[in-house]
């Protein structure tokens, strides 16, 4: 059951004189849910964005299903990104398109599927995230939780091999977090491979196959939720976990 689906090696990124990512390596197996935790500025978001090259890494290599990604080749890069779904903290729905069109546009314009067929697929994906009744609504008419669910549907419609979630609930009101978490939980239950940055420790520990603690651009420690939250080896990991547990509640 341990087929690596995504492998990253030594990803590094520097902005000016500041190294925001210092050689991060990670192997993700099919069905894994890796959770990235760590303080703000640890490089979690940069790591996720380097994985699909929204931020161009200065160094490092990425393999998807044993094929190395040649990200300087535009065609290869676009083909690779189709297979890697991305969920942003602030949703980034296309503001001029309604929910249905947001989910459909990738199918039509990237995959070249006919409008009708793409529309049917989009409706199914929106149904799956519980938005059957909001197909015609525009982003400005949706709540934050609904927007994030549309963006998940938009990513799912592309049939991604792996999903990257960059603090998907950080911009949400507390009472809206649950609806997004339940969608992500369903995804995990259906075997979707995911890498997610989050501060929601309770959610992370109940779901993660592995917790990855980052600080200062480095992966400091990784392990099962049990290990990281209860018996972390590194003092910084322990400090961070106890602080964040105080803030966001119990780890269980």
């Amino acid at each position: 059951m341990t087929t690596p689906i995504l492998r990253i090696e030594n990803l590094s990124k520097r902005y000016g004189t500041k190294d925001v990512l210092k050689g991060a390596s990670l192997t993700v197996n099919k069905g894994d849910l890796k959770i990235l935790i760590g303080p703000s500025g640890a490089g979690k978001s940069t790591l996720l964005q380097c994985i699909n090259f929204l931020v161009k890494p200065d160094e490092g290599r990425v393999w998807l299903e044993d094929a190395e990604v040649h990200y300087t080749h535009k065609g290869d890069l676009c083909a690779y990104r189709q297979k890697v779904g991305m969920i942003f903290q602030d949703f980034n729905l296309f503001d001029h398109l309604n929910a249905l069109e947001n989910v459909r546009i990738g199918l039509v314009r990237v995959k070249g599927i006919g409008k009708r067929e793409a529309g049917e697929r989009a409706v199914r994906e929106l149904e799956r995230v519980g938005l059957r009744d909001h197909l015609q609504k525009y982003p400005a008419e949706l709540s934050g939780g609904q927007k994030q669910r549309v963006s998940i549907a938009r990513a799912l419609a592309m049939d991604p091999k792996v999903m990257l979630l960059d603090e998907p609930t950080s911009a949400l009101d507390p009472e809206l977090i649950g609806e997004v978490h339940s969608v992500i939980r369903d995804l995990g239950a259906n075997g979707m491979t995911m890498i997610m940055a989050t501060h929601q420790i309770g959610f992370a520990s109940s779901l993660a196959s592995e917790i990855v603690f980052m600080e200062d651009g480095r992966i400091i420690e990784k392990g099962t939720p049990e290990k990281i939250f209860c018996h972390a080896e590194n003092t910084r990991t322990r400090e961070f976990c106890s602080k964040i547990t105080e803030l966001y509640g119990e780890t269980r």
Binding site: A79, F88, G106, Y138
Partner: protein, 225 residues
Amino acid sequence: MPESLIAITDALPYLIEGAGVTLIVVAGAMVLGLAFGVPLAIGQVYGHPALRRTIGVIVWFFRGIPLLVLLFLFYFGLCTALDINLSAFTVAIIVLGLISSAYQSQIFRGAILALPEGQFKAARALGMSDLKAIAFIILPQALRLSVPGWSNEYSIILKDSAVAYALGVAEIMARAHFVATRTYQQLPLYLTAGVIFLVLTYLGTKGLRILEEKVRIPGYSSQGV
């Protein structure tokens, strides 16, 4: 009926015909400005540094030289030197269009830069090429944001088009001048010309306001809060 009113009623059909000419010149210039302004804006925002500098120079050129100078330069200068046979009417549209493309490119550039960075990122994350992202995600939003700026641009071109009189284009001003010098009714005739421009400005900006409302993205207000 006083002489001045007679002069106006006599000249009105002739002046309104001129308004038709003015409107064609303005519409032609706006469309030309749109056709060139969009690629200029895209090039200036997303292009290679050398391209950006080149576009910067083009914009500087067309915004920096007075309209009258450009009209003479093209019509009497370039057309003669290169032995090109273009009517004054055509030259007026081309020159006004080129100037407008410089101004419109800056309207579009501002609109593109006003869009959240995340829109482009999300498009790329779906696997869109930069060209597709610009065509299907960036431009549809940027053009909507540009409509209020267009309203400004329309009223400026409309008034600038009167300068085409200097080339002998039979637009409103040329006709008003023609009649005024023959009837010696300068005051009523230039006043009428001014009123026609006011009406055209009103109709055009009103029309663009309707367009703005029509293409408005649901959930966004065009009224402010």
